[in-house]
Symmetry: C2
């Protein structure tokens, strides 16, 4: 039974580890600094489909396939899958995964979906005798632009604070193997809203949620940033990262040198014209599942805090003058198991 620490955090008592992971990216992601780490790079932005939405469904399907292949499993052998995405009614997940017949739990956390799913999968493995569960999420530049901003054909100009939605998906399979990366502790996020109303400045809207979740985690566990090798946020981008450092400093934490942001890792910002960085559910999911999990597995990274960040707004609410609430869920991943934990 996971032990509740403070108000937001749960320390797992059983062994839960990430047993396999899969990632897929588009052409632009393939040209970025992590391109070589992806399982698949698909140069066709439509992935052989007629629409952007159908293309995004394929991203999820293929990320699950890639992870299952590496785990030597059929997708049908997963006990459950947690999935969500940014599209209205999370259709990339529902349509992308419908053929698999896996017990399916839809989640919605915007770009925090990957860590929300890992929090839930970890606690489900703690609370049941299920053997393994999947977590998957995706985003696609073209389906997201059409839905959240303007049709691509308009050629609208993007302000410097804007981020580039990743065309990518990541899938992690969590199970009970005695093999790193282990999930040690998870923190459930709270909704934070500091009044940002600019849909082209998501980093600023999400930074307060990341700061709040980190503060909750450090307080609940009695640890500090320097106890970890890497603190990895989802897609704050340049603007959000600077704000996070400022907010953390106000709370007495210094993150500089310990922190990276998936939104700043996925692309080469100088060369790839993505303004403030990458974003989208697929950004943090694919960075985690291509470049980070293997380094925890190998021991190159010891203690990692992964917290994907989500902006929980819709275009309708913004048109009504509302601000943008943010949320961040945290997973502490480790190359070492608790000494006292067993399957």
């Amino acid at each position: 039974m996971a032990k509740k620490l403070g108000r937001h955090t749960y320390r797992l008592e059983k062994t839960v580890s990430v047993s396999a992971w899969g990632s897929i990216g588009g052409k632009k992601e393939g040209e970025g600094p992590l391109g070589g780490a992806f399982d698949e790079i698909e140069p066709d932005a439509r992935l052989g489909q007629k629409t952007w939405e159908q293309a995004e469904c394929q991203l999820q399907l293929r990320a699950v396939d890639a992870a299952c292949r590496k785990a030597h499993l059929m997708p049908q052998e997963l006990d459950f899958i947690l999935a969500g995405d940014l599209l209205n009614q999370c259709v990339s997940s529902a349509y992308g995964l419908r053929a698999f017949g896996i017990p399916f739990l839809g989640i919605y956390g915007a770009c925090s979906t990957m860590s929300e799913g890992m929090v839930l999968a970890s606690l489900l493995l703690e609370g049941t005798d299920a053997v393994r569960g999947g977590v998957v999420t995706s985003s696609h530049f073209c389906s997201a632009e059409r839905q959240f901003r303007t049709p691509l054909e308009y050629g609208a100009q993007r302000p410097p604070t804007s981020q580039w939605t990743a065309t990518a998906a990541g899938c992690a399979i969590l199970g009970r193997q005695e093999r790193p990366p282990y999930v040690r502790t998870v923190t459930i996020g709270t909704i934070e809203d500091k009044g940002i109303t600019d849909a082209a400045n998501m980093g600023a809207a999400m930074a307060p949620a990341a700061a709040a979740t980190l503060a909750h985690f450090f307080e609940d566990t009695g640890t500090r940033p320097e106890d970890y090798d890497l603190i990895l946020t989802g897609d704050l981008g340049q603007v959000g990262r600077d704000l996070l450092y400022q907010l953390a400093a106000e709370q007495g934490y210094r993150l500089e040198g310990l922190h990276q942001d998936c939104g700043l890792l996925l692309y080469d910002r100088q060369r790839q014209d993505v303004h403030a960085g990458a974003s989208g559910c697929g950004c943090s999911a694919s960075v985690l599942c291509s470049s980070i999990l293997p380094r925890i597995a190998s021991g190159a990274l010891g203690q990692v805090l992964f917290l994907a960040t989500g902006a929980l707004m819709s275009t309708t609410m913004l048109q009504q003058g509302e601000s943008i609430p943010g949320i961040a869920h945290l997973v502490h991943l480790s190359s070492r198991n608790h000494p006292e934990r067993r399957c």
Copy 2:
């Protein structure tokens, strides 16, 4: 630790019960046969807000408040809350609950949200030492019509298969009290798609999911429909109910006389002009939290299977010619605890 039965079902080993519940409905829901059972009936369709979406946020907020009041709790005392709704990016949940500061897990199951949330909350209580968690969902006729069909001002004619989206919300608080209703067993749904493409016939799209989940539950637990006092589906309506009976009969189960559908309970179909019945996340949530949970608590109902049903499509996917996938998650509620279970 919840024991996995078969492929889809988990039998809880610890005591998990529904300790309090709250419901709110609009004017039409108040005029229906269950009107007197709601905690609140709000005659103002805008709930004092400027927009339909803001009104729906208020439904969630007030359902949580009603449930917490009855549990003698502040909302902040909930260890977590699981919430979702039908609006794009689940904004009724995010905006409705943001002021509470409760650790928040967003879910998306369309109209299956209430039972999906109860499945997850039960397993989270099984897997952690959290004391209590909330589940809430809502729908609003006006925000749903605008988003999924046509603006109300068009006055579009509704076909006989169409259902009326409930303006309602329900919140259940799950905890560890030795007091019914107890959660005994939960079944996670799978995505089922039989090729229905008519957005005005949701009942037909969801019936196969209800039939599949019931079949999984009966097979996994070795029980039959006649072992239960009530099998309660979410919002199949008249068309979906008839289809469910047919599908169940093909699988060797007879549901007639044991089954009711929240979509057929909420309104007086003769008098209230709702065609095939009620629908929306708020339909099953408010029927459960107004009329069903009290009857299990009192012992008037002994063994109840609650399975809300969701249609996992978006208008975009339908415009692209896609069919409508459905899902149903099941919760077995009981007036009696397992004799061997303890907190």
